[in-house]
Amino acid sequence: MTDAWCQRVEAEWRLPVLRYVHRLTGDSSFAERVAREVFDHLAATSGLEAQSISARSPGAWLFERAAKIVRKDERATTNDGRDESIGGARAALGRLAVREREALMMREAGFSYEEIARATGIAADMVPDVVVRALRGFQGSYAGGRS
């Protein structure tokens, strides 16, 4: 990957990646570490993988990498309770299945079903099914948590 291309991608995608990780974990410094790691990985890619990333929107690839790092970390499912309203939303997110949570967040970020499918490993035609289930699950947990 050329430096110029990586810089352009980072300029475009750094903030969405930060927000995605922050929403999943509620930890801004962790989000910054994940973003750094993801963009370093992007800069280090070469060969077929690099071609594949540059041929399509790199955003889905970046979100996929970020989600993989977050999955290994327990922040995504723990509720630190720093703030009741933040905790409520994060707790409701944490109660969803990993794929549901990621599909929902990626849809909210504007990705296509195909990109969501590629990043989460869900079959493309099942994405709306997963999203509907996730929206209902989220609503149930969030409304239940607030009442």
């Binding site: 296509s112 079903y113 990109e115």
Partner: protein, 195 residues
């Protein structure tokens, strides 16, 4: 690589070989109401034309499905507003607060937006009530360049219009101020002459 229209979820159900979900969805149209996932894909503009058309026809004449779509949008809105409660704890230096996520354009295709610029189908589609006003506002803000000023003001409200004008380039800001000053002076001179 084919350029996908922004705002349309680019997996088109029914565009490829028929699979179980599409067959189920299509069959459900013949036998009754489409399932919620089909309605969501419709609202996200992710259906292939050959599926979208019958679904649209069905929804147009079915209060139950129209209500189901409204319910899905309500769920979506709850989710979005819950996410905003997380976003308020973002560090200020990220500069993301209040910024809308990029490419959140689902439900309002570029065609709708372009047509809304001509004051036709797009805005009437919005007014038809598939989307709540706030969601519409969110989507149109990314495309405001293709709307006329009065149409943009109709959808987003005059206050937001003024805010967006002043958020633009400093030249626009100065031009607007100069116009306002000029108008004020002209009115003053006219009043002075009359009196």
């Amino acid at each position: 690589m084919t350029e996908q229209p922004k705002g349309a979820r680019d997996v088109h159900w029914g565009a490829t070989a028929p699979n179980e979900s599409v067959a189920d969805g299509a069959a459900s149209l013949a036998s009754g109401h489409p399932p919620d996932e089909l309605l969501l894909a419709f609202a996200d503009r992710a259906l292939a034309a050959n599926i979208e058309e019958p679904v649209a026809r069905h929804i147009a004449g079915c209060a139950t499905c129209a209500a189901s779509i409204q319910t899905l949008h309500a769920l979506d809105d709850t989710f979005r507003s819950a996410l905003r409660t997380i976003d308020v704890s973002e560090p200020a230096e990220w500069g993301l607060r209040g910024e809308r996520p990029r490419r959140v354009l689902d439900g309002l295709s570029p065609r709708d937006v372009a047509e809304s610029g001509r004051g036709s189908r797009g805005r009437s589609r919005v007014k038809a009530g598939f989307k709540s006003r706030s969601r519409t506002k969110e989507r149109l803000s990314s495309h405001s360049g293709s709307l006329t000023t009065s149409e943009y003001a109709t959808v987003v409200g005059p206050r937001t219009l003024v805010q967006s004008m002043f958020a633009g380039s400093p030249w626009i800001r100065w031009a607007v101020l100069a116009l306002l000053c000029g108008a004020t002076v002209a009115i003053g001179i006219t009043l002075w002459r009359v009196s």
